[in-house]
Symmetry: C2
Subunit: 147 residues, 2 copies
């Protein structure tokens, strides 16, 4: 499967959120057939939700599933511990990440739990996240519970 | 702080969900002053959401917070890896669990991350969860992504 279109789609979600005044982090859940099962972005600002990170909003939008065994999760930014725990609990076997520079996340934890992690630097995602952190550092710190 | 009223409140949320046809797992977030900050229950059936476990629904209902340092999370059933990752990411320092028999959860992981975990067996929560698993095993397996 060519990852580029799905990293672009995760970025499009991030960009949509940024344009709405929210955190620019987006995610896409894709079946190994290439079918998009769900998309989403951080909803802290838009819905006042502390749990709807990009990955969580995407999984919520994908709805109830009996299995995630045949899926790949794309995310514009490396998953935090909430989202990493969710990936492990749901049994998502494969994660593709566009940015581990602005937030390193929990790649070793995911790998220790048997998740295949690919980091494919996605320049628009990285540039947008860097710009956002510079513009709204307090909002970013709130999102990752940094005091 | 006396834990019993808050474990009872988590059970009341679980019971409400059971009566609605949903999964009987509830949670309450409490400030160390004793103020209830949020309550919630599993919403897989009610809202069609795979991510709204009891703890997650509770945290969503508590809304945006700058810090969780001064909070205790009560839950009727031991947290899964999604909810455990969230507890760690949010910096919730203290978790009180009413049932580790019907689902063992991830107590060692939480403790390895510095979370204080207290298990206080809550008979009504345990009895209700046992009854639910016997009545709707497929729904329970879906909730924990067991195939």
């Amino acid at each position: 499967m060519d990852h580029a279109p799905f990293l672009d789609a995760a970025y499009a979600q991030a960009r949509k959120s940024y344009d709405e005044g929210g955190l620019p982090i987006g995610s896409v859940l894709v079946a190994s057939s290439g079918t998009v099962l769900g998309e989403g972005h951080n909803q802290r600002v838009q819905k006042g939700s502390p749990i709807l990170h990009g990955e969580m909003d995407c999984l919520q939008n994908a709805g109830r599933r009996a299995s995630y065994r045949d899926t790949v999760l794309y995310t514009s930014l490396s998953p935090c511990m909430m989202c990493s725990g969710t990936i492990v609990q749901f049994g998502i076997p494969h994660v593709v990440i566009g940015d581990v520079e602005n937030f390193t996340g929990n790649v070793p934890f995911l790998e220790s739990q048997g998740v295949v992690v690919e980091v494919i630097p996605h320049t628009p995602s990285m540039d947008l996240m860097r710009r956002f952190i510079a513009e709204k550092p307090a909002l970013w710190n709130e999102d990752i519970a940094e005091e």
